[in-house]
Structures are given as structure tokens and as C-alpha cells.
Amino acid sequence: MSAIITLSVLGILVLYLGIFNFKKVLLPVILLGLTVAFVLLATNTGNVLAADMHMLVFDAPARAFGCLLILITAGVFCLTPGNMEYATKFRQDVFGLMIFSLIGGIMMISYGNLITLFLGIETLSIPLYVMVGSKRSDLKSNEAAMKYFLLGAFATGFLLLGIALIYGATGSFDFRVIAEQCLTLQGNVSSWFEIGVLLLLIGLSFKVSAAPFHFWAPDVYDGAPTIVTTYMSTVVKIAGFGALVRFTRGGFPDMHVFGQFTFILAILTMTIGNFVATQQKSIKRMLAYSSIAHAGYMLIAIHCSTNASLVNIFIYAFAYSLASLVMFGVFMAIADKYELADIDSFNGLSKKNPLVAICAAIALLSMAGIPITAGFFGKYYIFASAIDSNYFLIVIIAMLNSLVSLYYYLKLIIAMFFKEGSNDVSEKIPALHYFVIFGCTALNILIGLYPNNLMMLF
């Protein structure tokens, strides 16, 4: 709770620092504030406000997910120097919105009540709609914001209808009461409840861009300023899955009723994401489809809802976000300035900047799930616990999909290492970018070497 207060004060502070022309200190203040929030969240052992009424519950999984969100957001902020030129005049506005949106994300991974879930999703989304459209002179950015807003509002409608039906069936928004009702009624829960849960899942799967609710994702990822795309493909994904897994593990004994729904959702998402990604020329669109595919893998853990689902999704989201940060960092450093940044813009990177090329390669291998990277263990844990609960078919499909994904990740690696690039002078990359790229890569390999240490967070 104190972390949320810190972050909201930080958001206002950033807005006012911008107004009174202290733009130089913006980034240090933000990083300091995020650190304070991180520490407060990590050491928070229970609810601070007595009047909280079980609205936000900072239990161990919520703290782990929340710290991850803050960490990744700090990474995104470190990537902003040099990549916010489009917003020189209103940089503090975008920064402030990003912090407010982070608060929404933290609410989404710690809710104990359907009202706070809804409020969290809105607090995450509304600043995001604006951030996507913050490149105001760019028609593509405007279009992306419009699309995201309209479809997001539509999905929110589904979510609200779902919440209303659940309330109608159980008479409460509180998770404890809802779970209790499910237990006492033992499978005889009113069908209002079932359709309500289904609608709620639909609303959430829109936020994590699971097929067939993914149509907005490529256009929005492509049209948004790249720094916002980075934020969306990492923080928003983590928050969405944190909310999903909290919901499915929230004490409903008969969650398997929705097995069919999540089964179809997972398979469609993986397959569509991976196969369409192979056809993409633009790197940004390719990363968008690959992020859809990754949502599919994480949906497997939602589908075979076991006690391990929480930690499996956490590790997967951690690994994926680290790799994403590196990839988008490299992309912004070398390719973002081209009108249509296709795979050829990565050509010959290993000659120009071998260290960065190696980091990018490790990130791509981690996304594909090659051993000694964090991505491998992310996939391994999810698949292993799925096999443990006898979901063979979905694991086989996921394995085949990983093979497909290797194709387009390798295409980028080949472009970096084995193709001749243009001989223009190598670009200057800000020091903070190097910090993010190297730091994330190191963390990635560290998790790959000692994956068990992450489990202790739960």
C-alpha cells in the first residue's frame, strides 16, 4: 500500500517538476522514487491500512509480481534518453502517465476484490491510450491510439458485464466471499456465475492480447512510439497475466469448467502468434506477434491451473520481459530511425557493435527457449507442470510452436552475424542503454543458471 502512495506522489512530483522546468532531474527523481517503491513493496508484510477491507492484498505472489513490474518499468525509463525526442515538450506528461499506469498494474496484481480489479485495469489502460497516441504529429500513432481505445473500451464492457453477473450470482465483489460461495454450493453455482467468469476472462484476455482477441496488438505495437511499445509488451503483459492467474487461482474450486475456453485460447494464441510472426518484415510487428505467441505459452499455465501456475507464470514473464527489454533497446538504438524498420536494418550488427549483437542474440535465444537462458526455464517449468497434470496435447503443440518460433528468431540472428551491413558510422548509444542491455542480459543468464532461487520468492 505504501508503495502505491509513493508512486502516486512520484507521479504528481514528475508532472510538477516538468511544469517548473526542472527537466534535468526528471529521470534521477523517477529512478529514485521507483527504488523507494520497490523497497517498500518488497518489505511490506501485510496491509497497512486497517480500513482496507481486503481490497488490495499484498501477499507473497503480489509482492513478487509488483516488484517485477517496478523493476521492468525502471528498465523502460532507463531506455528513454535518446528515444523521447518526439516528446521533448511534454516528456514529463508521458513519464507521469507511465507512473500512473504502473500504479494500475500494481493494483491488478494485488486485488482482493472485483472493484479494485476493474479500477486497476482502467488505471492501467487510460494513461496507456494517451501514451500510445502521444506522438501527435504521426498519423500511425493516432490511429493506434484510436484503435486501442475503442477496442479496449469494448473489452472493458465485457469485463464489467462479467463482474455484474458474478455479483448477481454471489451477492459480493469480495474474493473471499465468492470463493466461499463456490465451496458451499459445490458445483451448483448459478450459471450466471459461470457466464460472468467467462466474460471476465474474455475481458482480461483482450488485455494480454490472446487470440482471437489479439487483432489490435500488431497495429498498436507498430503505431505507438517504440518506448511505449516496450512498456506495453512488458509491463502490461505482466500485469495482465498477474491478474489472470490471481483470478484463476483465487479460490474457485471448479475452475476446470473453463478448461475448454483456456485450452482453445492457448492453442490459438500460440499458433497464430508464431505463424504470422514468420511472415513479418517489420521488426516491430514481428516482436508484436512474438509477444502474442508468448502470451499463448503463459496461457498454458493458466489452463492447467495448479499451485505452481503462479510461480511458473512469474518466471516466464520475468524471462520474457528481460529479453523484450534488450530487444527493444537494441531496436531503438539501431533501427528505429528508419521509416520501415525491417530485418535488414539489423544486418552486420556484429561487426559494428559485437557486444550489443551478442546481447541481442542471447535475448532472442531466451525468447526461443534455448538452455542456460531464463527463457528456457520459463518454458520448462510451464511444460513440466502441464505434463505433471496430464495435459500432453497442449504441450506437444507448444513444443512444435517453439520450433516455428526458432525460425524467425534465427532469421534476426543470421542478419546480425552473417550478413553484410551498410558501412555507415556506428550510432552512439547512451550509457543508460548499455546499462539496461547488459544488465538484463546478465540477469537473464543468472536466472538461467540459478532458476530455483526465484521460487523462494513465493
Binding site: 515538450k89 502517465l97 499506469s101 500504479i103 479494485t116 491510450y129 448459478s190 450459471s191
Partner: protein, 166 residues
């Protein structure tokens, strides 16, 4: 009496909601939407929730609808420039929407709901009780919503201001 009012209001609400979608002129759509809001406000009054009914009229039928009219004016929609979707898209959309409503009706038709005591209290919807619930049980969401409002404010200024000053 109450049942008659309920059904009357429901029919008006549904007809007007259909009118919003069907009418070609966007201004007519907005006017239909206002009618829909009014009939929903009637429902709220039937449930003895006068405050919500009034808020619905002031905020939705009043303020938000003005915004909608502004949007219609800003977009400058004309009949000629209205985009036309292909028939295939229309058929797909109609089919999926129809299937979805079929599922909803099918599920909700056979549903039985347990009766709740305490929810029949006619005092429930009054402002006093609403305030008590809002400021005690739902205090945290209430305070957190101010963050949402603030970010909406910042967003509106960011997107709407012509030359954002330094």
C-alpha cells in the same frame, strides 16, 4: 404497477438502444442514447436508487452526451464519407454477435438465483447508505479513483492542447 413500469421502461430502453445502432444520422444516435439513459434512470428509481438515477441523468445524459455531440461535430461525419464494410464482414459480425446473444440467453434463461435477505431493504439505494458504503467499505477504491481522474486530466491536456508549453 411496478411490473408494468418495469416492462414499459425496459421496452423503451431496448428500442432506443436499437435505435442508436440502426439510425444512419449520428445526431439521431446520440438522441436515442439520451432516451436510453433516461429509461435506465427510470429503472434506478424503481429500485429506489434515486441518487444513482440523478447522477445518471446529470453525468451521462447531460455531460457525456454533450461530449458525444462534440465528437460527432469534430469528426464531421457525412453520409457520403461513411465507410462501407463489405457484406462478408457484416455477415460474420452478425453471426458472431447472434451466437453470443444465443449463449447469453441460453445460459441466463435456465438460471436460478438464490434469494438474498438484506438485499430487499428499500433503504439500500438512498444517498445516506450509499455514502456510508462508499466511505467505509469502498474507501480505498474511492481514493484510488482519484489517480484515475488525474491521469485522465493529464491525458486530455496532452492530447487536446494545441501547443503544449514547456
Amino acid at each position: 404497477m411496478q411490473a408494468a413500469l418495469f416492462y414499459g421502461l425496459s421496452i423503451v430502453a431496448i428500442m432506443c438502444a436499437c435505435g442508436v445502432v440502426v439510425s444512419r444520422n449520428p445526431i439521431h444516435s446520440v438522441l436515442f442514447l439520451i432516451l436510453t439513459f433516461f429509461s435506465i434512470s427510470g429503472h434506478y428509481i424503481l429500485m429506489n436508487a434515486q441518487f444513482i438515477a440523478l447522477v445518471n441523468i446529470i453525468v451521462y445524459a447531460g455531460a457525456i452526451m454533450v461530449l458525444f455531440l462534440f465528437v460527432v461535430m469534430l469528426l464531421n461525419l457525412n453520409k457520403e464519407s461513411e465507410p462501407h464494410k463489405s457484406d462478408l464482414v457484416k455477415i460474420i459480425a452478425a453471426t458472431s454477435a447472434g451466437l453470443f446473444s444465443l449463449v447469453l440467453v441460453g445460459v441466463l434463461k435456465g438460471a436460478t438465483l438464490p434469494a438474498y435477505e438484506g438485499m430487499m431493504d428499500s433503504e439500500n439505494g438512498l444517498v445516506k447508505n450509499l455514502g456510508r458504503v462508499l466511505f467505509q467499505e469502498f474507501l480505498l477504491p474511492f481514493e484510488l479513483s482519484s489517480i484515475l481522474f488525474l491521469s485522465a486530466m493529464v491525458g486530455a491536456v496532452l492530447l487536446g492542447k494545441k501547443n503544449v508549453q514547456a
